[in-house]
Chain length 382, copies 2
């Protein structure tokens, strides 16, 4: 495999974009990434998307986006791994360039979710879980996460308010991200008083859906002069059982651990060298579990990092530096590409008020289902 | 890129498999391919599927299949390119192994379509077309193909019966394929008398849907002794506009031409060296257009190859040797992997009554949408 670098990134705002179609949102991100990369073509288009067949009555997003964005010609596919679709598409584009098959790849994550009712979206999101053994029993996707959170609180003795720092930190950072869906700060009181969704998950434990797209442009590292390149130093995907009930440990994200360990090895670093960790905070409980699985906290102690102020921009391990899923928003199939674009912004030093000082190494982790697919990337500036 | 070989294949029957779930059908093909390969693990699982989110309320097929088939651990994603999902998944697995990232990959195409009503399946299949500019105008997917077929008949002066040899040949070959859905011969009279679906497409112009799965197991060619290896000698994907109305020529499959030409170059062969061509005969018109785009007939003359008996097992260019989409069946996201498995059977000399004599080079072409995504592979025995 030859090393691969990220030459350009593009994002759209995450919002209810009723005036734009799926293809227009995707194209906006692609055009932004082309401009940023200073290119006008790509040999392949890899689209991360989860729900277009269900929500937008549209399959075949590869040629749809390639056609609309003026990138017709070569590879054009959709890659789906539930909420990890963005990172899965990135990894497909990465392998296409790393293999030497393509000299450039446009990876775009896109989702347009707000044209349907809340009930329809909830049903669509539940397809990420095990249809036959979880969803048919009546549990929704947030319900599954609620079961995990309740067990975690029971097992380790945390109370609901202890999870507040994850949400408060994400909102504080999103204020400075022009693409974020929820650009307002929240307080501990807001967190405690927010509406119950599925006990113990409140509204402010959960990330909002949205319409949005993010894109990154990949090239062989050798095609760029060393200096300010952003390299993909590690890339690993790991899978666990699709159903939580089949896991030996419901409170340990084994696939997060495996893919992170593999990515550390590939990058030749230890976790102490990670300057930023864009984790998959679909629910506050997932922040705690991700920090633990990747080695930043002992089991059952992830929540403490938030309480100790270690997850902020100047903390020991800054997370959700652009707002995370919680406040930037979670357009599911696009999220993994947003995370990567955001780390690129950090490594380039473009993040203003939420710039992590002297950021050199960023880790990105995207989760599909309730931990079934977990993909970890490590990006480095050199 | 390092060369890649196919070590094992597996198929299930294509039928209304109401007694089996999606995961069970996929797993059956995977287990068959593992047995055939003499392996019990794979570093990555690449699932080709189009409709599971819409029809089976199940996304995230990567970990679902990996989990169920005992292949948990590494990469596990779904790749979607409408009816070309099978070949797209194969190409993803191919690049993962070719890049050196994985030492083995299981590619499985699966679709379970018959649990829903005909109306629901028709609506689901229409997602392969342009939702905003074709489907919203009221045209179904078969309707789009009917428009193309009518134009072809008008432009080149063929009558409906002239397309019969494509269907008759496919059915004749399917009789000898234990996995085929329609194992009966048909006559010219049957063809002419069959029910109209969308003028001029009759029932016997069209391929049947079905539930089924096929799998292939990929390894680096260098890991096998030369002799009876099946090598992937060419692999190319090309895209056209998603809507037919945007093409400069509605009767020429430009993406078939581009991907085939690229595959010929990669394999270092001319089309005269192709011993078998498993083409994408979703409708008889597509057989004619595919033969023309790939150089086996001049424009407007593809039909003549059928009338001249050149598409049979001993003809100039045998097609649909195991029944094709028309009679083996078309479980959409699985079809591309069936095609590859069938060519492997031919190259191994396992096809009995429909064995193409001394087959050494086989071409496989899988089409997504009405020609938007066309992926061509060339396999060679050496």
């Amino acid at each position: 495999m030859r090393p691969v670098a990220i030459l350009g990134i593009g994002q759209t705002i995450i919002d209810e974009q009723w005036e734009k179609s799926l293809r227009e949102i995707a194209t906006e991100a692609v055009i932004n990434a082309l401009h940023d990369a200073g290119r006008d073509s790509a040999e392949g288009v890899f689209v991360g998307n989860m729900l277009s067949g269900i929500i937008n009555d549209q399959a075949n997003l590869g040629p749809l986006v390639a056609d609309w964005a003026g990138l017709r010609g070569g590879d054009a596919v959709k890659v789906e791994a539930a909420c990890a679709s963005g990172a899965a598409a990135f990894r497909s584009g990465l392998m296409a360039v790393a293999s030497g098959e393509l000299e450039s790849a446009m990876v775009v994550g896109v989702e347009k979710m707000t044209d349907r009712t809340q009930h329809e979206v909830t049903a669509a999101l539940a397809t990420a879980a095990d249809a036959d053994y979880e969803v048919d029993m009546g549990v929704s996707f947030v319900g599954l996460n609620a079961l995990v959170m309740r067990r975690y609180m029971h097992e380790y003795g945390w109370k609901h308010a202890d999870f507040a720092p994850f949400a408060i930190n994400a909102h504080a950072n999103a204020v400075h991200n022009p693409y974020a869906r929820l650009r307002q700060t929240i307080t501990l009181e807001d967190f405690e008083k927010s509406s119950m969704i599925a006990t113990p998950i409140n509204l402010l434990d959960a990330s909002p859906i949205g319409d949005g797209a993010a894109a990154v442009y990949l090239v062989p590292a050798e095609s760029l002069a060393a200096g300010r390149r952003i390299l993909v130093a590690g890339s690993a995907s790991a899978t666990d059982t699709i159903g939580i009930h089949d896991r030996s440990e419901a409170l340990f994200l084994a696939a997060a651990n495996h893919s992170a360990q593999q990515a550390y090895r590939q990058a030749g670093i230890g976790l102490e060298e990670v300057d930023i960790f864009e984790l998959h905070d679909a629910f506050t409980i997932m922040s705690a579990l991700s920090l633990e699985a990747c080695g930043f906290a002992e089991r059952g102690k992830g929540v403490q990092l938030g309480l100790d102020g270690e997850i902020g921009i100047t903390g020991r391990i800054p997370i959700c530096t652009r707002g995370g899923l919680k406040a930037r928003g979670h357009p599911v199939g696009a999220t993994g590409v947003y995370q990567i674009a955001e780390v690129v912004q950090q490594l380039r030093g473009e993040c203003g008020e939420t710039q992590v000082p002297d950021a050199r190494t960023g880790m990105v982790q995207n989760i599909g289902g309730s931990g079934a697919t977990i993909i970890t990337h490590i990006l480095q500036r050199e």
